[in-house]
Symmetry: C2
Subunit: 405 residues, 2 copies
């Protein structure tokens, strides 16, 4: 047992190392109905005009606007989706439905509420100019228009737009697959009752949910014993099946903390110790071109480090350009004890009052206490170099509940 | 053809009718790893203490704090997950790993960095008080503690907490199943090239993505012809397979707009006309106890009405208590034309500058133009009763990009 050989680096430097070391995944084609939430990898232009024909914007009568005939003959009815061979001439009109193609000769639509039809003839109580209630060709989208730019996150409107122009598949960045493993001889699966000295593996489940929230696909590798060969095999399986590996536990300085020595032999360790609380032993490596995050075993430490480093890595891989959470200044509602030796991320609830953001931490901030994350919508960043804080002091807060866009 | 027989109601009244007419679905048990994003339907209490034994918070040495022996005998090593029969007495210490059970007799842990071990004996360069670096029984969770309350949305931390206390299944409100149908003889599936007078069905895909975003499960019923019996059969299928039906098209006043007469025969129509733009013909009914939304056929109209009425209905059904989007006051960056006859919801981008929210609409607001929704993060609410607005005016805006919590 000795002091860690890894230099202590700051959270900002760790963020920089992570986001510059990971690469965006190669784009894939996915079916349109699976594209929600993906980042578009190419631009999309309109391959045709929408609408492709002049159509009615209202239910009413297709007419010649300049026609002054008082009572016009109704030639018939133009329904949406059915094309008839009507030819509108002065003294005539065609009943028309919203979305139906405008008949030949017509240049305006008079809405039904301004029409009085009886016995095959119609009178209008108001006149309308040329083009009234007519949707011209290409009104929504003109041939060649840029519809969507690369980097855009696909939501409902974007998917509707892609459907409109007939894109049944779309080129996007894939959801990163993330192999998740928990290490430690003390761990038993959730469904098992812990024996003496044992606890349940909660990290695998929390991290899988976290990965899903950020838009990744978790692959569960389960619990791995504190055994070098077992760990090596699990890592190889993760590299085989996933784009990233996230482990929890085994990164401290104990004799059973085997992760770092294995990583050293298999790849490059970018950092192995952080000047932060919780999450000090958080380790980040690249193995065969794939990122590996060795998170601490304490539940809060692993989730806080996942938020700070795994999330931005996943967002780079999935093609997002916004990597950071929104960070705002908040005013503390109570005193907070803080040791100045490292940056501390306290879980907190931020509320707004009269345009001012106010923060209250979630109670006891001990690393094992997952309850401190329940209901939290922010991480207070208590900087290195300053000590205890008082009610009314201003600190920086990461809004961890902000939308994934 | 005549004036609609449905009274024109306001968006606020429509919201009230929707949210008081739909019911929260019956709770279900889901596996823990499928619980993310669900609303918890019961309270969860700790059925045991966590940690269930006194354990070390650090890698170091388990000692008797008051022991003043200068050099102590190392009895052996206590690993996490392995319980040894060590008995710490004055003059002895046990090497211990983070998370391991504290051996009998010990009452503190001295971290490894303050220890110098050689030849089975250890000296410490600092003393620690009783309890130092020891996690007492129940430190994280005490038997009987209230962990999670009903109504809480399950995120990664909550799922970790449930795993910690051995909950392999959890009682939550289910994701509502939503049958989606598009009506209109003019519609062809996305993969088909539209013929004369035809357009592609984009609404089904946009609405399916919308339902997924809000946490529902879309069930695609496809395109239904403008035929009374076909529509009735599709509605019956939807009632069979889903908790809610959403249709697009067929709700105007044209001869082919068959939805409302069918709904009148099958159930109760709560509203059939709204004093809003877009989305005036939006229709809401209850059929056999299930909500039915008849959205307009224009792509923007259908998505805006989905946002305003389908989303709150889905949130009631899924157990959420926050039904409305955040609504804030924004300052317009340009003049906006607005007719005072009804409330208008314009698509806009809201940005923040010096604590002030500024809004710019997304250009041409014609109902067919889905591009007006691309990149929009807000709906401006331009109220009934006032006319054109000027740059610098303040209006209300719904933030439609806010997180789903």
């Amino acid at each position: 047992m000795s002091e860690s050989p890894y230099p202590m680096i700051s959270p900002d430097e760790a963020f920089r190392l992570v986001t510059t070391s990971v690469q965006t995944l190669a784009p894939v084609r996915v079916p349109l109905d699976e594209a929600l939430g993906h980042v578009l990898a190419t631009e999309v232009r309109a391959g045709e005009n929408v609408p492709p024909f002049r159509s009615s914007a209202m239910d009413g009568y297709a007419v010649i606007a300049a026609d002054t005939t008082e009572e016009r003959e109704v030639l018939g009815e133009q329904d949406a989706g059915h094309v008839s061979a009507f030819q509108v001439r002065p003294g005539t009109a065609v009943r028309i439905m919203t979305g139906a193609a405008l008949p030949e000769g017509a240049d305006a639509v008079i809405p039904v509420e301004y029409a009085r039809e009886a016995h095959g003839r119609v009178r209008f109580i108001k006149t309308f100019p040329v083009g009234a209630n007519v949707r011209p060709v290409g009104q929504d989208l003109a041939l060649g228009d840029l519809l969507l730019s690369p980097g855009l996150v696909l939501g409902a409107a974007e998917i509707g737009l892609l459907a409109t122009v007939g894109q049944t598949e779309v080129t996007v960045y894939p959801r990163p697959r993330v192999a998740i493993m928990a290490t430690g001889d003390e761990l038993v699966p959730v469904e098992q009752t812990p024996g003496p000295g044992q606890i349940r593996d909660s990290n695998s489940h929390a991290l899988a949910a976290f990965v899903r929230q950020v838009g990744g696909v978790p692959i569960m590798l389960g619990i791995v014993r504190d055994d070098e060969e077992a760990l090596r095999q699990a890592i190889l399986e993760g590299l085989e099946r996933a784009d990233m590996i996230v482990s929890s536990g085994g990164v401290s300085m104990g004799r059973r903390d085997l992760i770092k020595p294995i990583l050293e032999r298999m790849g490059i360790i970018h950092f192995g110790r952080l000047a932060q609380k919780p999450g000090k032993p958080t380790t980040f490596a690249t193995l065969r071109g794939k990122p590996f995050f060795g998170l601490p075993g304490f539940p809060v430490s692993s989730l806080v480090s996942a938020e700070l480093y795994v999330r931005p890595a996943l967002r780079v891989m999935a093609g997002f350009t916004t990597l950071r959470r929104p960070e705002i200044t908040v005013r503390l509602l109570h005193d907070i004890r803080h040791e100045p030796d490292r940056t501390e991320f306290q879980r907190a609830v931020v509320t707004w009052k009269d345009g001012q953001a106010l923060a209250r931490n979630t109670g006891d901030q001990v690393s094992g206490r997952l309850l401190s994350l329940v209901g939290a919508n922010a991480l207070l960043r208590l900087p290195q170099g300053i000590g205890d804080l008082r009610a009314g002091d201003e600190v920086s807060a990461l809004l961890i509940n902000a939308p994934e866009v």
